[in-house]
C-alpha cells in the first residue's frame, strides 16, 4: 500500500482525469486500488475519486463564517461515500476545529475519524499537543456512545486494553497495515508511551481502570454463555418436538437413549435400524410374489402374522379368552389410555413408575414407552387379524415439515 498524504482535492481530480485519459488511450489499462490518500485538503469539491484509491481520508476545514464545516469538505465526503467503502475524516495533528463539529459530521455520515500523528514525533511539544487533541476527541467519543463510527487510534487502543484484560498482551497495538503505517510505524517508543498514558487517563476518567475492562469482558463472556445456553436449550426443545412429531415411538426412543446412554438422534437411529433390519430379513425370506401390490404388506408376511395370532388365540383357549387377555394387557400397559397419559389427564401406572426408576426416565415417558412397545406387538396381532383394533385412536397424520435429516424412524 502506498500512502500519499496532504494532497489537495483539485490534485485528486487531476489524477482521476489523467487515469481516465490513460484508459481512453489504452482500454486494457487497469488500476489496482492500492493507494491510501490521507489528509486530503478540500480546496475544491472532490468530483472524482482516483481509480487507484484504496481509501481516501479528507481533512476537515471550516467555511468563511468559521462556525461550520466547509461545504467543499462536506460535499466531497458525500460524494466519496457513494464510490468508496474506505472513506474517513482525517484530523491533522494541528487541527484547531472544534472536535464536536467534526464528530457530529462523522456521526451523520457514519464515517470513521482518524486523529493523525504529527509528522515529527521526536520533539516533546508536537507529541504533547497531539495527545491533548486526541484526548479531546476521545472524551467526546466515549461520552457519545452512538456506535455509528469509530475513532482511531482510540479504537485500536481499546481493543488492546480488552486483550490485556483477557490476559493476553499483544506485541502490537494493531495488526492493520494502514493503522500501523499511520499510527505506530514511524513513532518513537517514548512518544507512543506518552500518547498511551494520555489515553489511559481519558479512559480511566470516562470508563474506569483495568477493572472496567475485566468487568466488560466478564459481561461479554456471560452474555455469550447465556446465549449458548439459550441456543442449546432451544435446540433440545426443537429436538424433543421433532421426536414427538416425526417419529411413531418417541418415548421408546427416549427410554432407549436413557438405557444406553446414546444421544437422542443415535437412539432414534438405533430403533430405526432394528426395525429396518427386521423388515429386511422378512422381505428377504418372505418376499412379495411378482404382481403383488407393492404398497400393501407382503401376503407371506401377513400369513406369518396370522399364524402367530392364531397360535396365541389357540394357546389361550379361543378368541374370547384371547380378547380378554389382550384387553387386560392393553389396560395394564395403558395402551388404550396413552393419549390421556400423554396429556396428563391420567397418571402413569404403578408398573410405569417402577419401570421409570429402572430406566432412569420420567414415569410418563416410561408409561408411554411401554404403551408404544405394546402397540408394536399389537400391530403384528392386528395384521394377523387376531385383534380388530389396537384400542387407541388413529394417530393424527404426521405433519410434513422440512427435512432436517436428524431423525428418520418409522
Amino acid at each position: 500500500m502506498q500512502f500519499l498524504a496532504g494532497l489537495k482535492a483539485s490534485e485528486l481530480n487531476q489524477i482521476f482525469e489523467k487515469q481516465a485519459n490513460e484508459i481512453k488511450l489504452n482500454q486494457a489499462e487497469k488500476f489496482d486500488r492500492n493507494v491510501a490518500y490521507t489528509q486530503v485538503e478540500c480546496d475544491v469539491e472532490l468530483m472524482r475519486v482516483p481509480l487507484d484509491a484504496a481509501s481516501v481520508g479528507l481533512a476537515p476545514s471550516l467555511d468563511e463564517t468559521g462556525e461550520a464545516l466547509c461545504e467543499n469538505f462536506v460535499f466531497s465526503l458525500l460524494l466519496i461515500t457513494g464510490t468508496l467503502n474506505q472513506c474517513t475524516i482525517d484530523v491533522p495533528a494541528d487541527c484547531s476545529i472544534d472536535p464536536a463539529l467534526v464528530l457530529s459530521e462523522a456521526e451523520q455520515q457514519s464515517l470513521n475519524v482518524r486523529v493523525l500523528m504529527p509528522d515529527d514525533t521526536s520533539c516533546i511539544e508536537p507529541v504533547r499537543a497531539y495527545a491533548d487533541l486526541l484526548a479531546k476527541y476521545s472524551t467526546l467519543w466515549l461520552r457519545q456512545g452512538s456506535g455509528t463510527y469509530s475513532l482511531s487510534p482510540l479504537d485500536g487502543y481499546l481493543e488492546y486494553r480488552f486483550a490485556r484484560a483477557l490476559g493476553h498482551t499483544p506485541d502490537q497495538i494493531t495488526r492493520n497495515s494502514e493503522m500501523q503505517a499511520l499510527f505506530t510505524d514511524s513513532v518513537s517508543d517514548e512518544a507512543m508511551d506518552y500518547v498511551k498514558s494520555r489515553l489511559d487517563q481519558v479512559i480511566e476518567h470516562e470508563l474506569g481502570g483495568d477493572e472496567y475492562f475485566r468487568e466488560q469482558v466478564d459481561l461479554i463472556a456471560s452474555a455469550i454463555h447465556l446465549k449458548n445456553t439459550e441456543l442449546r436449550n432451544a435446540r433440545l426443545q426443537m429436538l424433543e418436538q421433532e421426536l414427538d412429531s416425526r417419529t411413531p415411538v418417541p418415548n421408546l426412543i427416549r427410554a432407549v437413549a436413557s438405557l444406553t446412554g446414546l444421544a437422542i438422534p443415535d437412539a432414534a437411529g438405533m430403533v430405526y435400524e432394528i426395525k429396518h433390519g427386521i423388515h429386511t430379513v422378512l422381505d428377504k425370506y418372505l418376499p412379495r410374489a411378482e404382481g403383488d401390490d407393492i404398497k400393501a404388506p407382503s401376503p407371506k408376511q401377513l400369513d406369518l402374522a396370522s399364524g402367530i395370532g392364531s397360535a396365541f388365540v389357540s394357546a389361550l383357549g379361543g378368541q374370547a379368552a384371547f380378547n380378554a387377555v389382550w384387553g387386560e394387557i392393553a389396560k395394564v400397559t395403558q395402551l388404550k389410555s396413552s393419549i390421556d397419559v400423554d396429556r396428563g389427564v391420567e397418571p402413569p401406572s404403578e408398573i410405569a413408575v417402577k419401570a421409570a426408576d429402572s430406566l432412569g426416565v420420567e414415569p410418563k415417558v416410561a408409561a408411554l414407552a411401554i404403551a408404544e412397545l405394546t402397540g408394536m406387538f399389537g400391530s403384528i396381532l392386528k395384521a394377523g387379524k387376531a385383534i380388530e383394533t389396537l384400542g387407541i385412536e388413529k394417530p393424527a397424520e404426521v405433519k410434513t415439515t422440512a427435512q432436517s435429516n436428524i431423525i428418520a424412524v418409522g
Partner: protein, 351 residues
C-alpha cells in the same frame, strides 16, 4: 441509522388516473417493464448490502405486471439482499387474488397504499367508481390479514370535502391505519419546471401548510375519539417527541434511491419523472457512478440547508424539518413539519 430505501418502479403503467400524479400521463400509459438485469445492477451494490435496507416495489401500479413477473422480482431481490425488508405500494384499485399470498411470502404481511377524496379517478375518469373500487381492494387486503396503511394525500379536494367526509370514509372500510401526506401539484410543476442548484425541484403545493395542519387538528378534535374507538390508528396524531418523526420521507436524500423501469435512477420516488433530478441510467452507467453523481451530494447538502432554516425551532431535534421534498415554509404561518401538531404532541406528553 435510518433505513436505506430502494423504490423500485417495476413499471410506470397505471390503472388509475390521478390528475396531479408525479408520473407523466405518457409514462402511465406505456406498458414498460423493469428487466431483471437492471434490477440486479441496481441491487448489487454495497449501498444496500452494507446498510439496513427496505425495498419498496412501486409503479405506476406494480401489480399490473402480473404475478409471475412480480414474483421473479421479489425472489431475485431476496437472493441478492436476503436481509432486506420488502414491501409494495399498490393503489388498491384492482387488488389481484395473488397479492395477499405474495404479501405473506415476501412483504411480512404489509403493503401500503395512497388515497385522496378527489382528483383520483378510474381510467374512464369516474371518481366515485375509483373510491368504490379502492375501498373494495383495501378491504380485500385487510380481510386477508394483510396490513395496508393508507397515506392520504391532503390535496385541495380532500380538504374541501371536509373532516366528516374523510372520517366517514375511513370508518366505512376495514382499514385500521391511516397516515397523511402533503400534496404537491406536479401537474403545475411540469407546466413550468423550476430547479435549484443540484437539481432540487421547487415543488408547488396544492394546499397551504396552515390549512393542512388545521384540517388535521379539526379531524382529531371532532372525530379523533370516534376513530380511536373504532380501532383506527393515525400516525400523525400519535407523534411522540421522544421517538422522533414517524412520518415518511424526512432527511431522505442520502438514503433514498428510486429506480425507473428504463434504468434511470433518482433519489426521491416523487422525482421519478422529473428529469432534472435524474442521476443517470443503469443502461450506461454503474451504480457507483450514479451514486457519485455530484447532484446527489448537492441535494443532500441542500436538504441540510433546508433543515437549517428550522434552527431555533423547539421541535427540530425530533421533527427534522418534515418531508424534505417541499419547502419548510410556504408563507402561511405554518411549516412543513407541522409545528401545530408537534405543539399538541408536546402538550399531550406533558399532560
Amino acid at each position: 441509522m435510518a433505513d436505506h430505501v430502494a423504490f423500485i418502479n417495476v413499471t410506470r403503467q397505471c390503472n388509475v388516473d390521478c390528475l396531479r400524479c408525479y408520473l407523466t400521463a405518457e409514462n402511465r400509459a406505456r406498458k414498460e417493464r423493469l428487466s431483471l438485469r437492471t434490477l440486479e445492477s441496481f441491487l448489487n451494490h454495497h449501498f444496500w448490502s452494507d446498510n439496513q435496507t427496505v425495498l419498496i416495489w412501486e409503479g405506476g401500479e406494480a401489480t399490473v405486471v402480473g404475478q409471475k413477473i412480480m414474483r421473479e422480482y421479489c425472489e431475485r431481490a431476496r437472493q441478492i439482499l436476503p436481509y432486506a425488508r420488502q414491501t409494495m405500494v399498490t393503489n388498491c384499485f384492482a387488488v389481484p387474488d395473488w397479492l395477499p399470498d405474495l404479501a405473506n411470502e415476501f412483504f411480512g404481511r404489509q403493503v401500503e397504499t395512497t388515497f385522496a377524496l378527489g382528483k383520483k379517478a378510474s381510467l374512464k375518469g369516474d371518481e366515485a367508481a375509483y373510491r368504490l373500487q379502492f375501498a373494495r381492494g383495501l378491504n380485500k387486503l385487510w380481510q386477508a390479514g394483510i396490513r395496508c396503511p393508507v397515506n392520504i394525500e391532503l390535496n385541495r379536494e380532500t380538504i374541501d370535502a371536509g373532516v366528516d367526509a374523510l372520517a366517514d370514509y375511513m370508518l366505512s372500510t376495514d382499514c385500521m391505519a391511516w397516515e397523511f401526506d402533503l400534496s404537491v401539484n406536479f401537474e403545475s410543476f411540469r407546466r413550468r419546471p423550476e430547479y435549484a442548484a443540484g437539481g432540487v425541484p421547487i415543488l408547488p403545493l396544492t394546499v397551504s401548510y396552515s390549512e393542512v395542519w388545521k384540517f388535521l387538528a379539526e379531524l382529531e378534535d371532532r372525530r379523533g375519539a370516534e376513530l380511536e374507538t373504532a380501532g383506527i390508528s393515525i400516525g400523525a396524531f400519535n407523534q411522540d417527541p421522544l421517538t422522533g418523526n414517524n412520518q415518511f420521507n424526512v432527511a431522505s436524500e442520502k438514503r433514498f434511491l428510486t429506480l425507473n423501469p428504463d434504468g434511470v435512477v433518482t433519489t426521491n420516488p416523487l422525482y421519478s419523472d422529473l428529469e432534472g433530478t435524474h442521476l443517470g441510467s443503469l443502461a450506461d452507467e454503474t451504480m457507483a457512478e450514479l451514486l457519485s453523481n455530484p447532484n446527489r451530494a448537492r441535494r443532500v447538502l441542500a436538504e441540510r440547508k433546508r433543515a437549517a432554516m428550522c434552527s431555533g425551532c423547539v421541535h427540530l431535534d425530533y421533527c427534522s424539518g418534515g418531508p424534505s421534498h417541499v419547502p419548510v415554509f410556504d408563507g402561511s404561518g405554518e411549516c412543513a413539519g407541522g409545528a401545530a401538531l408537534w405543539n399538541r404532541a408536546l402538550q399531550r406528553s406533558h399532560a
